[in-house]
């Protein structure tokens, strides 16, 4: 089973990425530190989304709602009640989790495209509540002045803070996906009926997973507010819900690190393209089409196909 060799196979890539992430701020300019900070936050968002998509096999097109709830929880607590950032993170996870619990309760009754549409409709519901509730959320003005504490104010300290939180989050997510719970999710994805027949309460598992995913989306959102110094209702819109979908598909939804890799590519591209054109949606749309048509399994799918090296495949029960 787990001899040294497979341990190495399993962890060399994340370890290498972590080391690179540690060293990066010494080599690159402040602008790119910002970009990498964004990569980390959106990567956590996409990885949390992938819990529902890659592992449970349901496409959620409304995960930005929980991301937005997390961002607004932190924003409101910091701006209106002057809470310290550290206290806000767990509270954001809890509020996002509660949101996911209430809305997810209805979503997990459906499958496939109906699941996608209902998650999207609920996502828009959250968006419009935030958008219209001027007195509480600031409506389309958003919330400004979400300042992290003094010692995190500069780009590089905040980057290391994000890196710490995101790394911890990713490790927890990894343990969840490798637990019996995680394998039950894969079973649900691969054959829902059979999973039901062996006595597993599929809906309950799906709901629990949806809540966990929502909580980590909320955590990512909570990091976003102080990073950007502001939050806006756009964070919850369905366009924003499309980002983690694309990141997961681009990186490869059947590998644990796929969404993070997708985030690297997507965010990099964003930073690069917006440097010289305002037509980012046009470019990103074309990239999405090319990726879907040409490399359906994402980056990790291609790597696996070519057999260059074999990072452990987190997706397929059948292959293990």
């Amino acid at each position: 089973m787990d001899n040294k060799n497979t341990m190495f196979q399993r962890f060399w890539l994340p370890a290498a990425l972590f080391v690179v992430a540690l060293i990066l701020p010494f080599v690159i300019s402040e602008f790119w530190v910002h970009v990498f900070n964004e990569i980390l936050i959106l990567g956590l968002f996409a990885a949390a989304f992938n819990l529902v998509f890659g592992y449970m096999g349901q496409l959620s097109f409304g995960q930005a709602a929980y991301y937005g709830i997390g961002a607004y929880t932190t924003g409101l607590l910091m701006v209106k009640l002057h809470w310290p950032l550290f206290a806000c993170l767990p509270v954001s996870m809890i509020t996002a989790g509660i949101g996911a619990l209430i809305l997810g309760y209805f979503c997990v009754k459906l499958r496939g495209i109906y699941f996608a549409i209902l998650t999207m409709a609920f996502g828009q519901l959250v968006f419009f509540i935030i958008f219209q509730w001027y007195s509480f959320t600031g409506g389309d003005n958003g919330l400004q002045g979400i300042n992290p504490p003094e010692w995190l104010f500069k780009a590089i300290p905040y980057y290391y803070f994000s890196l710490t939180v995101v790394t911890i989050g990713m490790i927890i997510l990894y343990f969840i996906t490798e637990s019996p719970f995680g394998y039950t999710l894969r079973a649900i994805r691969d054959n829902t009926e059979r999973t039901e027949f062996i006595g597993i309460n599929v809906q309950r598992y799906m709901l629990i997973n949806f809540v966990i995913s929502g909580m980590f989306c909320g955590l990512a959102g909570a990091l976003w507010g102080p990073f950007n110094r502001s939050v806006a209702p756009d964070l919850c819109s369905w366009q924003h819900s499309g980002h983690p979908v694309f990141m997961a598909v681009m990186g490869g939804p059947h590998h644990f690190l796929g969404p993070m890799i997708g985030s690297v590519i997507f965010t990099f591209l964003n930073a690069f393209v917006t440097g010289f054109t305002e037509y980012w949606p046009l470019v990103s749309g074309m990239v999405i089409i090319i990726v879907v048509l040409v490399m359906p399994g994402g980056v990790f799918g291609i790597i696996k196909e070519k057999g260059y090296f074999c990072p452990r495949d987190a997706g397929d029960v059948k292959n293990e």
Binding site: F53, L59, F61, F106, K109, L110, R111, G112, I113, Y114, A116, I117, L118, M120, A121, F122, Q124, L125, F128, I129, Q132, W133, W238, Q239, G242, V245, F246, V249, Y279, P281, L282, S284, G285, M286, I288, I289, V292, L293, P296
Partner: protein
């Protein structure tokens, strides 16, 4: 006073509902037959509105400009939709759900920017011909006279689609394809061809709706995003693939929106989502939908 006020509100709800029907019926038709959820549908609708504006501005001097521009816009949009189908959608028939969604999502992003590039960010306003500039009085209530035209078009499309599905050969094929693609194809009917024309028909209706919309108010960027979400709500309420359901769903959403905005303006959109979610929970396939193949 109270009655006339409510009546004119009802009429504007009816107009809005039928506009939603024009967008949603194509969406529902495409989904019902091809099983593809077209995120870009409303963006194509907006393209129709802009095209109509362009045709109109070419013929500005004439009174008939608008009436000629609307069908031209519908045809031009349909041609554009046909190209999209042949170039792009054809490649994703057999792909997985998330890939199809991502492709149409990407189309929405691309077309949104294309509109910005071609027509620029300024709002476009069509000056109506004199015949529909003055309001019409119905039961003492002032009604925008163009609304009558919108309602007529909506009803005409509804009846036309109903007739097409019920009495023509191709309508029967389309209806059969909703239930079993394999069976239809086993009967020797070329499914890809049917798909292409269903998609084109859907986009034609969207373009027509866009043309009609262009004279209701000014045409602005981002209009499509509101309407696509509401059109999703409509098809979910009514049931995918059901023409009747789409019509009822559109009227519900149109009227609810129109009256909610009077009494609770901030909550109008929220209310529509609440209704949608409630219906989806009680009847996952919508009011008139039948369980489709997974």
């Amino acid at each position: 006073m109270e009655f006339t006020f409510l009546f004119s509100q009802f009429m504007s709800g009816l107009t809005y509902g039928l506009m939603l029907f024009l967008v949603a019926s194509g969406l529902s038709l495409i989904f019902g037959v091809m099983n593809i959820l077209n995120f870009a549908h409303a963006t194509l609708w907006l393209i129709g509105a802009y095209i109509c504006f362009t045709f109109w501005s070419l013929m500005e001097a004439h009174q008939f400009a608008l009436w000629v521009s609307i069908p031209l816009a519908a045809l031009a949009t349909a041609a554009f939709g046909w190209i999209c189908e042949v170039v792009l959608i054809k490649r994703i028939y057999k792909r997985e759900l998330h890939e199809q969604l991502l492709i149409t999502y990407a189309m929405a992003l691309i077309f949104g920017d294309l509109i910005k590039i071609v027509w620029g960010p300024t709002d476009r306003l069509i000056v109506r011909p004199s015949i529909i500039q003055k309001p019409l009085f119905l039961f003492g209530a002032p009604i925008d006279s163009y609304f009558i035209f919108v309602i007529l078009i909506g009803v005409a499309v509804a009846v036309g689609l109903w007739w097409f599905l019920k009495y023509t050969k191709y309508g029967h094929i389309v209806k059969a394809a909703v239930y079993s693609r394999e069976m239809v194809s086993a009967l020797g009917i070329p499914i890809p061809k049917i798909y292409t024309w269903v998609f084109t028909l859907g986009i034609f209706i969207a373009g027509l709706a866009g043309g009609v919309q262009s004279a209701i108010g000014s045409v602005t960027l981002g209009m499509d995003m509101n309407i696509i979400i509401q059109a999703f709500c409509v098809v979910v309420i009514g049931g995918f693939g059901s023409l009747m359901g789409t019509l009822i769903g559109s009227l519900i959403v149109g009227e609810v929106f129109s009256f909610a905005i009077l009494y609770w303006p901030d909550g109008a959109m929220v209310l529509i989502f609440v209704i949608t979610a409630a219906i989806l929970i009680v009847k996952p396939w919508g009011l008139f939908g039948t369980p489709l193949r997974a």
